[in-house]
Amino acid sequence: MKTKISRTLGTVAIATLLALSANAQDAVEIAKKAHLNYYYAANDGLAEVSMKIVDSKGNERNRRFSMLRMDEADGGDQKYYTYFYEPSDVQRMTFMVHKSAAGNDKRWIYVPAVDLIKPIAADDKNSSFVGSDFTYEDVSGRLWTEDNHTLTGETRLNDRDVFILESKPIKPYKGFSRRVSYIDKELYLPLKEEYYDAKDKLERVLTAEKIETIDNIPTVTERKMQNMQKNRYTVVSFNSIKYNLGVKADLFTERYLKTPPREYIK
């Protein structure tokens, strides 16, 4: 009798452990798949981006730029090239990021009015990207390996079935203490992400406003980031998206920082 109970308990314990680890395994898999779909679509990509920043008084600021991306490997290093059209004071400016999955990213800016190429000293990924509610990390993504993930449930959102995933940074992190993602079960794209601050108060909410299929790749073409505490938001829309252009790595060098590649950047 005693042995039977302990055997049963043992089985339950093992099953629970297995279930937990299966859950953890699933959670990591979901986080990874969503990350790759969201930030590593195709091998490269080009988009014209419009950004609308609205502050708490309703004042609006707008940015327009082209963004070119190339992946070295899925989930690995990436290169980004940005060319600004608007506003007037940053027109013709270019910006380049060599994103490193293992170490610190490298960033450069080119200011055409003075023909100056300047590497940017920035180890802070939480700085605002061009004055918007998006941070540099929101633009290029935070690797799924930097957080612990737990599958906390499933629900429906915008008439879609979603996983609810909770992610907590493995190392203490300034960007958020906890993130809750609602990931589309079919597309494996986040439809919503809630970022909680150090006091576990909801700080920012990212929502996928529009999803389109481009070259057979489901793509979030409009994203909204709301800052709940500051009552402001930024909407970004991606237009004229092109994938798999065969972009070469040498395009992400100082030469093209000074002379934009006109086959991609109009």
Binding site: S88, R92, S128
Partner: protein
């Protein structure tokens, strides 16, 4: 009085710019630019300059570009009304160039252009391109520190590295602050003066053209470069005791630099040997000796949206004993000169407020220059800036000490379109 006239000019320029935009857009080439007003006043009364203002100007910049298959064409011109120095309307072609590529490997940029290379933050060793210190001290935007020059730039890209050559047919000197706007110490009179002085350029000839070269290669994330220059001192530092006139002595520079990311920031190193070609033995009193210069700098983000850097520059005059022996007058320079600079800048309220503080301090010359500014972006188009320039020095003839009466505060308003 100044201000009222300038506001009228601003309104007029703005109307012209809007009508121009419409006309040219009809032909498919958009025009962009800005209208800007700048007003500055002195903080010191005993200045020998004629005006209490350091700036009262309105400026319209128009930009246009066209990208054809074979070349990219870009032009940028400033139309301005400057009440202090020019006292009227004038214009300047800031840039007008064509850019094209040959064989996919050599990039050419031909025409009026602004050029920059090297690693220092507002201090320059191998950057031999023309600078405009009058604009820099008067509170114009940072972009005006660089003066345009008409040149041919070619850049050859190979797996070994990148070779850039810049040929400037007509020597382009620095623009000094001695235009009547600022006072300066004059060794001739032994006192502060404000008379504008224009120094004749070397005669126009192939031999007097400028040639600057750079070979750059990135090794393990570090940009390494070698530089060479054949031309003239960019400031009129020579003095001819026969004609009693300043002039531009010949200069060759050989230098190197390295820049990379480390320690969560960016560091840079640069050095150069300044070969005073017209006085190779260091014995001519009217011509600077050869010298060697080096600088080291580091920049890091110290808090969210706040960046700070520090630079140290050192300069050693070669053949100092000969310099001492042949010195005319009492303004004796030191054999060693050192300079420490630090910039702290921050972007706040979603980058609508930008604060910047930049100090230059020379422990050897015992002088300093401090510049600061605050930008407030009211909208994407409208920016208001206030700032100042402060000079101090124990000696009258040092780089910053000679401008010590020119402390000023300024305000600037810019509407971009």
């Amino acid at each position: 009085m100044y201000a009222r006239k300038n506001i009228l000019t601003a309104a007029l320029l703005f109307l012209i710019s809007i009508s121009t935009v419409k006309v040219v857009s009809a032909q498919g080439i958009p025009i962009n630019g800005f209208v800007q007003g700048l007003w500055g006043g002195r903080l010191q009364e005993k200045n020998p300059t004629s005006s209490d203002y350091t700036a009262s100007e309105v400026r319209l910049q128009l930009r246009m570009e066209h990208n054809a298959d074979i070349a990219e064409v870009f032009a940028r011109a400033d139309f301005f009304n400057d009440e202090i120095v020019a006292g009227g309307n004038d214009w300047e072609l800031r840039e007008a160039f064509a850019k094209f590529t040959l064989l996919g490997k050599i990039d050419f940029k031909v025409g009026r252009q602004i050029l920059t290379w090297g690693t220092g933050d507002l201090i320059f060793i191998n950057d031999v391109f023309a600078k405009d210190y009058e604009s820099f001290f008067a509170g114009r935007e940072d972009q005006y520190l660089k003066a345009p020059q008409t040149a041919l730039r070619s850049e050859y890209y190979s797996p070994l590295g990148e070779l850039a050559l810049v040929w400037t047919p007509r020597f382009a000197p620095n623009r000094t602050p001695a235009t009547g706007r600022f006072s300066y110490y004059s060794p001739m009179s032994g006192d502060f003066a404000a008379e504008p002085f224009a120094v004749p350029l070397p005669a126009e000839s192939i031999r007097n053209s400028e040639l600057a070269g750079r070979f750059q290669k990135t090794v393990g994330g570090m940009a390494l470069a070698l530089y060479g220059y054949k031309g003239f001192f960019k400031n009129p530092v020579g003095f001819d005791f026969v004609s009693m006139m300043p002039f531009y002595p010949r200069l060759n520079i050989y230098g190197a630099s390295a820049r990379g990311q480390a320690g969560g920031g960016v560091f840079w190193l640069e050095g150069g040997y300044f070969h005073s070609y017209d006085d190779q033995c260091g014995e001519k009193p009217g011509i600077p000796n050869s010298n060697i210069q080096g600088l080291v700098g580091f920049e890091k983000q110290i808090a969210s949206d706040i960046t700070a850097n520090i630079q140290y520059q050192a300069e050693k005059m070669l053949q100092y004993e000969r310099y001492e022996r042949n010195l005319v007058g009492n303004d004796k320079e030191d054999e060693f000169r050192s300079l420490v600079t630090s910039r702290i800048s921050g972007r706040f309220r979603m980058e609508t407020i930008i604060l910047s503080s930049f100090i230059f301090w020379s422990p050897s010359d015992e002088d300093l220059y401090y510049r600061f500014s605050a930008d407030y972006k009211l909208t994407d188009n409208m920016t208001v800036t206030v700032g100042g320039n402060i000079f101090d020095g124990n000696k009258r003839f040092t780089d910053f000490g000679m401008f010590q009466l020119n402390d000023n505060l300024y305000a600037r308003a810019t509407y971009g379109f």
